[in-house]
Subunit: 377 residues, 2 copies
């Protein structure tokens, strides 16, 4: 480099270099696609935690040696890995259990049903879908089923279980995708004498890849018979988390019902005081922009779905009531401007979060930087 | 590529390619550093909205032509741009107003004071810092000040203004960084007959770059005299947003006070019902993980700061009370499981969010994908 290089010359060099970057990324994705094809032949999983960890570690060392700023190569690699998990695509999964008997998705025309249908098909399973308008096929299809997945709105689940179970072979695995597990599991165990498995996919039908997505598994009966299903999920890259129905339902009260309720209430309040959203966005810190994003996204979705989730169990209603009761003393404290009491309470909650508070600060910092990256000015 | 390539061979090729990627990134950052140096000589801003938009647009076209998946090059470039804004560094800013007279930061040993001090120094200003333990220097230092920035805890602001103002030359610009602008501005206007400017940086002292950070500006008096300060902020890449003190304080009630209060209350409630955080994290959807990150990060920070922000004005307390009142009918609706009423309310809020709901869904989708990228398994 000459000292006298003008800005224009430097920018031309950056432009040329970005051309090389695009070429290189394109070649890399091509290699990854070939690797995915080989992995399918070898019947190994789309996602390998060990390979990911190795890649990130070794590249970070190389990047440090090359003098790159900390964290840069990791961020870029994680973004590339996402692409390769998605690009692995639905056309290339090994099949854990080859069988002539079909997997049956009841309610398979809904978003979640379609998603699982496409993954099962891509893994070489015989697949049948039964929706409300073709129930006349049910006796014939269900009579040969290897496993049945009930993927219908929560208030229909019990009725559909009662209707389907008598048609199943005794060794068929009966599963459901309902977001409240205790009643669904009880209904399945009562209606079907064979293997039973409760499932709850912790994502919506719009995901672009199953890699790293959580599927909760709640054991029902004859778990050795349903093991192939969980193995298949893991081959897709999903993370299977096992717990009891009671633990699941308690956690979902927090993770789903209370969370959606508070977001909904906050959005309702904003619409009541109707601040100018354009101005609020202009004045926002990255933290508040993120908050607004998460609130606004709720209202772009289906209200029935949220009503169902929030009001799906007595436990949820009790949790929400208890939460509302907990707010009163906090309001009083703030209204009397008691900063010392605020600090005492704050420190209690800090103790509960423990080492997570600091971890969350770091991890959210990376996300907030990303919120800023997206800002156009 | 041969058909028979094994996974091992393909991985070796990917490894080699990543070596080239690191080399290329290193050369790119080097070019960017040189461009930053040229820009400093030319006295142009660290960040150019137009250049950023041009880069993103033209690379996206090239990437599409090369068959790269949509969004990939944009994400990588935004990440690189962040690095180059940070790497532009604090050692290279042009100075809008050369003067022998100093800028003075009162409370300059606090985090925010230190941040602005380093930026002002890096831009070639004479800089003086006065903290509580060296107030005896105040008459001499303040007597020559070009501009004074008051950066002290909010409950000390009025007293510090009253103490400092009589020592200032009549043409000195008096500024503050307080998060409630109406009273601070009134106090400055009353105490100082010269130029007055209210400022509120919408970020914490831990940011790594001023690029795209918002600084709110509230005009006080003789704005042509304080214009150089806002121009300087813009040269650092910050976005200056101008509004009235009343608009600012109303917006901050929402953006800061209510937001922090609800986050605090939610954290308090979690600590009261103390679920196992490890299990909750395992079972979480990306949305709830993000929620936990944002709640947990609050409790890693200074409680006094949050108490000050939440309780800093009567307007905030009224807003919080009004919010609490708004929750009651929502709770009633949920307890009587009135899904139709829920859907009606939901649709009202959706109408308020208007086109933002869809935009927020898309933008948050990109962030949630990033939350998944970070997940280690």
């Amino acid at each position: 480099m000459e000292k006298g290089d003008s800005l224009q010359q430097l920018r031309a060099q950056i432009d040329a270099l970005d051309g090389q970057l695009i070429d290189l990324l394109s070649r890399r994705l091509n290699l990854v696609r070939q690797a995915a094809a080989v992995k399918k032949e070898q019947k190994s999983a789309a996602y390998s935690k060990e390979r990911e960890a190795f890649l990130l570690r070794s590249r970070a060392q190389q990047a440090q040696a090359a003098g790159l700023p900390e964290g840069l190569i990791e961020d870029i690699l994680r973004r590339l890995l996402r692409e390769s998990y998605q690009g692995g695509g639905k056309s290339a999964y090994p099949c854990v259990l080859k069988s002539e008997r079909p997997l049956v998705l009841i309610g398979g025309k809904g978003g979640m049903g379609q998603l699982f249908a496409s993954y099962f098909k891509a893994s070489g399973y015989q697949l049948e879908i039964i929706d409300r308008d073709d129930w006349d096929r049910a006796p014939q299809v269900l009579g040969r089923a290897l496993a049945v997945f009930i993927s219908v709105p929560i208030d229909l689940t019990a009725a559909v279980i009662a209707r389907a179970a008598p048609l199943l072979p005794a060794d068929c695995v009966l599963c459901d995708f309902t977001s409240v597990k205790a009643p669904a599991l009880a209904a399945m165990l009562q209606a079907h004498p064979g293997p039973v498995l409760g499932l709850h996919p912790m994502f919506g039908p719009d995901i672009r890849s199953m890699v790293k997505q959580v599927i909760v598994s709640v054991g029902g009966r004859d778990e050795e018979k349903s093991g192939f299903i969980l193995q298949q999920f893991e081959l897709w890259g999903a993370k299977v988390c096992t717990c009891s129905a009671v633990e699941h339902d308690k956690a979902m009260g927090i993770i789903q019902a209370l969370r959606h309720f508070t977001t909904y209430c906050y959005g309702m309040f904003l619409s009541e005081i109707h601040p100018d959203l354009r101005q609020i966005l202009d004045l926002s810190s990255p933290i508040y922009r993120l908050e607004l994003l998460m609130v606004g996204r709720l209202f772009a979705q289906d209200p029935r779905l949220y009503a169902d989730i929030i009001m799906s169990s007595q436990g949820n209603l009790e949790l929400i009531s208890r939460y509302m009761d907990s707010l009163k003393p906090q309001l009083d404290l703030v209204l009397r401007q008691d900063k010392d009491a605020f600090v005492r309470c704050f420190n209690e909650a800090r103790a509960y979060f423990g080492e997570y508070a600091g971890k969350f600060l770091t991890e959210s910092g990376a996300l907030l930087a990303r919120v800023q990256d997206q800002r156009s000015s």
